[in-house]
Structures are given as C-alpha cells and as structure tokens.
C-alpha cells in the first residue's frame, strides 16, 4: 500500500474544504441552526411534545443527519466532478494509487468535513437543550456510517455525470426529498395510513431514526436494522465506486 500517497490525498482533499471554511463548514452550520431556531422555537415547537419528547429535542438528530448527508455528498461529488471537469483528475490517474486508496482517501476527507459540521451543529443545539447522549456507540456508528454512504454516493454521481445538470439530478430529486420525508421533522406514525407504511421503504428514515436513538434514546425503527441498512448500502456503493475507479469508467478514455 502506498501509505504516503494515501495520506497525501487525504491531506489534499481536506485542505480543499479547509481553505474555504465559510462555505464548507460555517454556512451549513448556520443553515442548520436556522432550521433549529425556526422549527424548534419560532413556530412554538418548544411548547409541543412528540411522544413525550420535547419537539426541539426531537428534530436535532434529524438536522444533524441532514447535514452529514449533505456535506459528505457535496464534498466528494464537487471535488471529484470539478477535477474531472478541469482535467486535474489526471494527477490521480497517473499516480501509483490503487482504486481502494483513492476511494478511501476521498471518504476520509468527506467524513472530516461532515463530522466537523455535525459536531458543531450538535454543540449549538445541545447548548439550547442538553449535552446528554443516550447511546453514544449508536450515535457515532450512524454518524460515521451514513457519512461513508453519502461520500461514496457523491463519488458515484461525480464519476457518472457528464455535466452539472446530471450532477445535481440525484441529490436534488432523490436525496433531498428522501431526507425531508425521512422523518427529520416528524415521526412516521404521524402520517396517515398508506403513507406511514410507504415511508418505511425510505432508507434515510432508518438513518435519521437510528441517530435519534443514539442521541435521545427514542426510535420508531429497530436501530440494528438501521445499522444493517447503512452497512449494506455502504457495501453496495463502495463496490460500485471501486469498480468504476478500477476499470477507469468515464475517467480513462
């Protein structure tokens, strides 16, 4: 294994987002904090309870999960797509790095960004509520696992896309709706009959609910089923990215 090369790629990919922290860290933290303030406080949420949990506490895990999903996806997708577009991707294609080294380095850098945002959001939100974490191992497992899933997803999208329109297709029309419908702001029980069942086909629901279990100890789904879904999705996406990089799909002419 080319350890120096692997570490260099992680350093480079991390430095990319650390050079513009306003855009990559601060902006998502503020956006999420605004959701928190608007939905948790301004709309009177602090008065309400959902199954015995104050609404403001209920939405924190979902908001954190949303920022993990967005930031890990965005980090790999934009970095890889832009380097494909600019042609700087050839640095990677010429380097003696295996497909596994490239994939894992991109994922590690994306995790660094997503978890930085997540921890900051959690700190801000906890300052308003409580720093208590119900199941730390589950919380960490879901945060890391989901970060890996969407970092890999971002790579698939970046490699497969030929233009910005295609790059935005899946995030805008699949990921964002599924995230909003994934129980960030409500419990699936709250939906009327057919929808409360249909919504269970949404994998993001299990991710949000899993982190909710980890952070506040409350869930509608089985957290271990959630972890299995996360691991399974990561394995499938990981294999796809590996195959793409190994074969040079859309990267080597």
């Amino acid at each position: 294994m080319n350890v120096i090369g692997w570490k260099t790629l992680i350093a480079k990919e991390s430095r990319r987002f650390m050079k513009v922290p306003g855009q990559t860290i601060l902006n998502p933290v503020i956006n999420t904090a605004l959701y928190f303030v608007v939905f948790g406080y301004a709309l009177g949420g602090y008065l309400r309870e959902l199954d015995g949990v104050p609404y403001i506490r209920f939405i924190i895990p979902g908001l954190i999960m949303q920022s993990i999903i967005q930031n890990s996806l965005l980090n790999t997708a934009s970095s890889l797509f832009v380097s494909k577009l600019q042609g700087t991707i050839i640095d990677l294609l010429l380097a003696p790095l295996t497909a596994f080294e490239v994939v894992s380095a991109y994922v590690v850098a994306a995790l660094a960004r997503a978890l930085t945002v997540a921890v900051l959001v959690w700190l801000v939100a906890s300052a308003f509520t409580s720093f208590h974490v119900a199941h730390p191992a589950h919380a960490l497992g879901f945060a890391l696992g989901v970060g890996v899933v969407f970092a890999l997803g971002g790579m698939v999208v970046a490699i497969a896309s030929n233009n910005f329109e295609q790059l935005n297709l899946i995030p805008a029309f699949v990921i964002t709706p599924l995230t909003f419908l994934g129980g960030v702001f409500y419990s699936p029980h709250a939906l009327p009959r057919p929808w409360s069942t249909i919504t269970r086909a949404n994998p993001i629901l299990y991710m949000v609910d899993g982190l909710r279990y980890g952070l506040i100890g409350r869930s509608d789904t089985n957290p271990n089923l959630g972890l299995a879904i996360v691991v399974g999705t990561a394995a499938v996406l990981g294999s796809i990215v590996y195959a793409m990089l190994h074969s040079g799909y859309k990267l080597r002419t």
């Binding site: 260099t8 050839i90 990677l92 010429l94 003696p96 295996t98 080597r252 002419t253």
Partner: protein, 334 residues
Amino acid sequence: MTATTSKDLSSAPAVETIGVAKRYPSGVEALSGIDLRIEPGEIFALLGPNGAGKTTWISIVCGLARATGGSARVLGLDVVKDALAARRVVGLVPQEINFDPFFKVREVLRFQQGYFGVRRDDARIDEILAALDLTAKADAGTRELSGGMKRRLLIAKALVHAPRVVFLDEPTAGVDVNLRRDLWDYVRELRRRGTTIVLTTHYLEEAEALADRVGVIDKGKLLVLDTPGALLARHGARRIKIKLAAPLTALPAELAALGATLEPGGLELSCPVATPGLPAPPANGQPAPAEIRRVIAAVAALDASIAVTDLRTEQPTLEQVFMALVGHRKGAAA
C-alpha cells in the same frame, strides 16, 4: 513489483509498444498499430501534424487511455497488468495545462511528491523550482502564473518524483525563447543522469537540437523512425543558392547536369550538393567538395555581364523532411 519485473528493468527498453491501436468510442481511429521501441537514456522526439495521434500514444503508455489493440510496456512493465509499478517510473507533462486553483506552487509539488510515495523533500522541490526558474513563484497561487510559468510548473510536477521515463507533450508551447533554451539544457542534463525522454513538439528545430531519434506519425501510423542525421540525408538536401543581378533566360547545360534549378524569374540558381559524411542525394553522385568546385566553375562560366550578388548554402532541416513526409496533406501544420 515482482522479482522478475525488477530484474527486467535494467535490460528492458524504456518504452516499447507493439501494435498499439486506439479507436475512440466516437469511431475515430487515432492509432492503427504503432510499433515503437525507445531505448533507456534516449531523447526521442515524436513528430506529426495536429491530430496525428501523438497524445493518444502517450496517453496509452502513461495509462490514461486504454489501447484497443496491442500492448505497451515501460521499463519492461506492462502498463495494464503492472499498472502501478509502471506509473511509479513515469512522469508526464500533459499537453493541456490544468491546475487546481486552490493551491500554491509549492503545495502542488508537495502533493505530487506524496502521491508517488516520496517522503516530503523540500530540498528536491527547491531544486526543481530553481531548474525551471520558478523559485520566485514558490508561494504564489497557480492562478497567478503566466501561461509559460504554468507550462513550467507542469514540467516541475512531472519531474518532482524523479521518474526514469519522462513524457513531455509539447513542453515548450508558449515558453519564451530564453527559457526554451534553458529547458533544452535541462532536458540534456536529465538525460545525462540516465532519464529517458520522449517529447512531442511542433518546433522542428527543437527535435533537431535535442533528439537522438525521431519518429514521425500521421493519421495514426508511424511513417519513419530514425536519427535526425539519417532522416536529413534521406529526405533533406543541402543546396547552394546563388543570386544573380540580371535574370537568366535558360539554365546552362553544365548547371543542369549538376541538378540545378532556376527559380521563377531567373534571378536565383539552386543547386543540390551532398552533405559531407552523408550519402549524396540521388541527383548527383559526387563527393561534396568536387561538386562545389563544379558549381562555382559553371557559375564563373556564365556571361560576364551577369553579376553574382549572393552565394550561400542552405542546410537541410527536419522541417524539409517533415514537409516531404506529411506536408502534402491539406492543413498539415508543423
């Protein structure tokens, strides 16, 4: 790297392609079977008009493109089967300039070192920066560089991990005359240290000045492969050019016998002569000095009223060779 491949490294050709072919998905047949063997320590120039297939051939050897036929090896390492080991020994200066605008010159070189598994070595980076006259720009962002500086940074990038085989795809495009000479010196210096260099260029005097051997490709086929000297002897001609004050109406028989021609207007005579040390062009079979005497004698025998205003020799150039090989093609540009 396996034991057998590392043993092969010493004796294997620096680059060897056998029947390398490339048909792009668009249907374009960019290469149709290129057999080429470049020896270690050689400076090899690959010439050809735009679209000939030079970049495609280099891309296949460097692993950026997949051949649709044939095989390619670098220092005995198959570029597909031993891809990682092959990439370690190769440096490529791509034809297209592109940089990540996020990073500074020194950072770019540090990343490059790291990718190749080289431990951070700032002394090496300083040496490369100095060699390419970029020391003053070490801490500038890549966006702040001029076009020629960017090209030089591209070269620095390709060399920073001390590759044993270097591909330079039009390395001097946009580089000014002084720096181009410096670059040539640096290329020779690299060769002295044992590096094999493969370059493409549209400046034929560059190939003439640098290359040990030259290959000319056109439409995906290798047309010739030889030393510049041999190519000049085969396809180029040295000529004596004589300017006259008054036009000649007809070419005297003695000059016609020597293969001379009269330029339109009758004011200039052009007479091929052999180059010492090289076989004579087909028109006349005599050793050069004797021919030159005969040309002078024939000119002296012209009507005394016709003054000779200039006499010079025109040396054969690779440009003539190139034009003879591919110049017929419409739009072919060196």
